[in-house]
Amino acid sequence: MVEEKLLVRLSGVVADVLNELVRRGYFATKSEAIRVGILRLGENFGLLKPSMHYWRELGEEIKRTGKRMTHDEIVEALMRLEQET
């Protein structure tokens, strides 16, 4: 996997928007907001198929949490979800 480290200087409206995105809780960190922003650009310019990207990213995020759910746990969580909804 390619890795890039960037130091980005932001000011004015761009910095304001970034701060607001994190303040409102859409993203946990500024880095996360920037990553998602770049992916959106990739989508807009047709560089990636969004659903496949999110499919893979969701798998990676689940793996990152280290949590595993058994089939029964999934069923139980689903039932709880349906009842609460």
């Binding site: 946990a28 999110y54 969701l58 999934i74 969580a77 689903l78 979800l81």
Partner: protein, 146 residues
């Protein structure tokens, strides 16, 4: 031989099991990503999927799962579009299934892909299990129904 479906409504469990287990729901999602059929979902499906992943794997997983469902869907049915169908179905099926069936009827869809015995008991004609749905594409499904 059955004709390949062009469109289908996917219940939230398809997205949840499809991401977490090697099963027919995953095959359904792969077929959708390959463009074999168009996915229809609803606000309810998006909310349930997001909530499931957020509660079990964190906020970021919830957000990504929502984006996945949104991007895979060719059409997302809003609640205010299905009020009439919901009123018609009230009392005939369980409350938890109301919105899904109403959305399917509103869009006149042939298939509601899910694995839930309540749909079968309520004799929802559009209901099809992931296993049976995969077969329509002449794919060899896993033995499990979901």
């Amino acid at each position: 031989m059955s004709k390949k479906p062009e469109k289908a409504y996917l219940d939230s469990m398809i997205f949840i099991f499809g991401r977490l287990e090697e099963c027919n729901s995953r095959l359904v999602l792969f077929l959708a990503q390959l463009g074999e059929f168009k996915v229809v979902t609803s606000e309810l499906v998006i909310e349930e999927v997001e909530r499931f992943f957020r509660e079990n794997f964190g906020r970021q997983a919830g957000y990504i799962s929502r984006r996945f469902v949104e991007e895979l869907s060719s059409h997302i049915i809003r609640r205010d579009e299905i009020k009439i169908e919901i009123d018609e179905l009230k009392g005939k099926i369980k409350a938890k299934d109301l919105e899904n069936v109403a959305a399917v009827r509103h869009e006149n869809l042939e298939y509601l892909v899910a694995y839930d015995e309540d749909y079968e008991e309520a004799e929802i004609k559009e209901y099809i299990t992931p296993k049976e749905f995969v077969k329509l594409f002449r794919f060899r499904p896993y033995d499990i129904e979901y």
